[in-house]
Subunit: 338 residues, 4 copies
């Protein structure tokens, strides 16, 4: 149940916490109090009188819901504000391949207006015999490249035992699609104060991803970004996944967390990444995360879906043009010598 | 097999038709000849010498393929040019409800720049006990409304025995998702010279819809429009279907027919129709087909997904702004007194 | 609404028909009356008093529902009783290929205990350039073969204009998966008195197929058989479709029509047809329909999924053994000289 | 590449390991050697001469494949032999609820012929606010109950940091569907010598689950059991998931690991669990894993799909009857005083 407390009745908030806090999960956001597992009959008359509105049966993922937290969450990092009216470009190689290569890709990312540099050092590969990433060395290269261009780092954490180590290098944790319901991992990043980008699982419903995000919020970390990256359907001959763009406005209605789009993993083929990216901008996503590579044919992983630098720059220009056409704020490209 | 015949060797085209036409399906487009079911070893040395290029294993839907017909098909009707650089807005009520109502909706459609008025007179309803449409009376009302505003008519044909009758009223036949593989119906409209808008079936792959379109082309009718309208996936709690926008650039690569987007049936709820429509514009669709209604709560069918006039007009303005931002041609709104 | 009328109150049935029959769909089965589109408040006090039970909000497909018609429907043909405690084997070639071939296959079908001979004369092929069937000649061959072995004929009708012609040859119409929502065709067979086997569409929900069957029932034909034949999912590399056997007990709970299983189209590969068939028997299906061929490599269509005669006979023996083990009636193989 | 070495040429196996072992993954099973990432041209003439057969392009999950390991793996625990001609019943409550309750359920499981007692102490719940299991106390109760009835323990491990602790109590680790691609967890159980039951992810393809199992095998643990438990499709109104029984014979063809069926999570409703279980037996699964509860309405989790004791016993009798009918070995129920 969510109780929206009337102005001037703030003591009721304390009262509710005192009464129910030991036995139930109780969450407070401004003048709203969510108490899990009770209903209106559990309130006393004073509490009922202090309520502007009582919402029975809120969704299980209550902290992430607009009913509990109506205004947009804006995730703040050193170089980015993600959510609200902002638009955030995140780009980088699929895998960190070397110090030099990721430095070069950081320059490209920056040129296109990105404020976040993505790159994998620990790779969740379908086969145990595929390249598994450079590990901590990769993180060092990624951090150095991001620092050289005043970018934030975004990198995947696959293992809860790596959380502390990766926390030394990253500005945003990525939880990959395959780990969307790895609850131990979600709990582990939920105990940090580092923003988390949670990618939708291949067969996760809207409710599933909201519940997964609640595992992070339940630990006290509310800096959450939700990413649509394509779902698994029968239609997989020409694209790797089916980008479910309709999920973007649905999620924006239900949750206050920023929602961004990953067209690279959805499309799976470079030629379809730009159109899907632009569709993501037009539908109102708070940002894009894309894979770039200067020599896709020799990329260590996922070369087929990487944008070449010129393709990426074309995409970012078109993305900005759409934002402008729709009167969505377009942030100035930061100035940097490349 | 497709043989691309060298300049100055046009007699080889006749030769191929003569040699194979009785026993195989043979199609000619400019200097390209498709002969179904043969391979290079079936050609004689003169034929091989006359070939610029030989394409083995073209797709089964050869007439619809870019390999056979590289340039865009532009479907031409009295008031519209659909495909190529054009962008076509199609709007109207789900069902034709009365002469007055469809006339009012035609005015709205026109005001938003539509050149095609859609409306159902024969409705494919899931239940036999639901409203099945006004039938031929509905077609008369629809035709009158379209004529009053210089619009083309788009209406669904569900039954091959209705083809001739509906042909008297419509400019474009619609084949609905449920009939996408009703081959008798496809053959029937394939024998007319009226353009056909073919909607993707709920679980149709890209190849399935191309093969379905080939049933129309095989009858001699090449005025075909393909419509993405959402597919059936596990994700159907908040949207009616999953709009597979990635299919748009895939189809545009594979076929020369125009590809348009129906956000109404995909979204299923008005609030998600506009974002999905704009995403469809940004991804490069050749047009949109949307349902509009001035009183959705009392619509005879599908009110939940109808745009109100002001919502529709907002959408068309934003659609035009995106086209302009991406340097896609934006056609002038025709002038009309409303 | 369904009204279950008390014993001795049969006049109320007439009364309900008289009062509502002009304006609403009214159906009667024994002492149950379904009136579409009314609720309890529309009944007068006498009617309410005569009711044993009132069921609000029955499913749209009311005539097919157990709520309206609790007992099993048994479809009766010259040689078969389908449904109830019966188990019916249906077998034959995918396409009728020649008079001789179908005669040979009829002998095999019979030897395995089949009472129904299946065979396609009009084939719904994905591509317009694939073999489309022998047409009426095929029907003649099929009829002759069935008659020679005292079998019923089951064959697909794809086109409502063929209904009368095919009716001269067949004992059971098959409506294929692609036409499951071809409502004109459903209405056409609904007006005949020939049993109809309705195959589930590739992305049809349980409710969809029940509603499709209601189109047949609404025309007055209640001799309906429902067939699970696999649905389209992401899992299609090793099997052609995903056989949804869980749908069998679900359908049996909801509807009184017999439910049978087609393992051939689900599996798509011979080696998986027998296991899927046996699973279908164990789950309680009222029958199987399988494709057989003595030379699958040269079959005109779908050879990859055809059982060879010895494989078919092995399957029928195992099917009978499972029926016996589960104390389900096993019908005697009819005696015939082969 | 897989090299099948001729009899009498065993020294070549050592030679291949010596030559490639430092730079490639090399696996040996009897006279078969798999070397990842090489092809025939990398072999010298002596090696080629020693080969009976060379298999290029084996699947990525090579250790799990029949090409590398043709004969069935039989997983051996204290009380069970899983795989091969054996049939293994696994039953127990969804969650361990108390020492007394799980003891009672163990008696029921045993009575039905189970040799494995399942029960969850750490529960992967969609919502962080749902009951998360009794933890290590639950494991103690489960172990005690299993020991009292000479049963093996099967319990889920969700967190790699729990592996050592849970190893003290369990005979078989369960990896749940949501963690099927939690590669850190797979690696962790791969380093133990305790059998692992790996459940198919909700949208995992056949290849995905085989690759996931290879993460376990790559760590040296080959005691793997694969479980089909239903996939996510559009068809989820009446059953919780779509049981993909066709996957059973497909997996049995591709891999040597035992394949079992979980009808409880697939059906989601008790009334459909038994039919799905029997279908699983008939299709040839090596066992069943089912949830049982004496008071489903008050179960801590998943009560809707639990079989009551009498239902479970009915199921096990019918399962045995089907095995017998199909001449599959039926193991004697062990004798125990209850």
């Amino acid at each position: 149940m969510i109780i929206k407390v009337k102005a001037g009745q703030a003591h009721i908030i304390d009262e509710l916490q005192r009464r129910f806090g030991d036995s139930h999960d109780v969450f407070v956001h401004n003048n709203r109090v969510a108490v899990q597992g009770i209903d209106e009959s559990d309130l006393n008359s004073e509490e009922r009188a202090a309520a502007d509105e009582i919402i029975d049966n809120p969704p299980a993922a209550v902290q992430g819901s607009r009913l509990f937290h109506p205004e947009d969450t804006i995730v703040e990092t050193a170089h980015s504000q993600i959510g609200g009216d902002n638009f955030t470009m995140m780009a980088g190689p699929c895998s960190v391949e070397s110090a030099e290569h990721v430095m070069k890709m950081a320059a490209v990312a920056k040129e296109g207006g990105a404020t976040v540099l993505r790159g994998g050092a620990f790779k969740p590969r379908t086969s145990p015999y595929s390249f598994q990433g450079l590990g901590e060395d990769g993180l060092k290269f990624l951090r150095a490249a991001a620092d050289a261009y005043d970018l934030d780092v975004l990198t995947e954490v696959m293992d809860q035992d790596h959380v502390d180590m990766i926390a030394q290098y990253t500005d945003i944790f990525q939880i990959g699609a395959r780990n969307m319901q790895n609850f131990s991992l979600l709990k582990a990043v939920g105990k940090t104060n580092i923003p988390v980008m949670l990618k939708r699982g291949m067969s996760a419903t809207i409710d599933d991803i909201l519940n997964a995000s609640e595992y992070i919020a339940a630990g006290g970390n509310h800096q959450i970004i939700i990413t649509e990256r394509g779902i698994r359907t029968f239609d997989n001959k020409y694209t790797r996944n089916t980008l479910d763009l309709g999920a973007v406005p649905v999620l924006q209605k239900l949750t206050h967390y920023p929602v961004i789009v990953d067209p690279s993993h959805a499309a799976g083929h470079t030629e379809f990444v730009i159109p899907e990216a632009l569709a993501g901008v037009a539908i109102g996503a708070s940002g894009l995360v894309v894979e770039i590579h200067d020599d896709p044919a020799h990329a260590f992983s996922d070369g087929a879906q990487a944008l070449k630098p010129n393709e990426y720059l074309e995409m970012t220009q078109k993305a900005a043009a759409i934002r402008e056409a729709l009167n969505m704020p377009v942030h100035e490209k930061s100035e940097v010598e490349l």
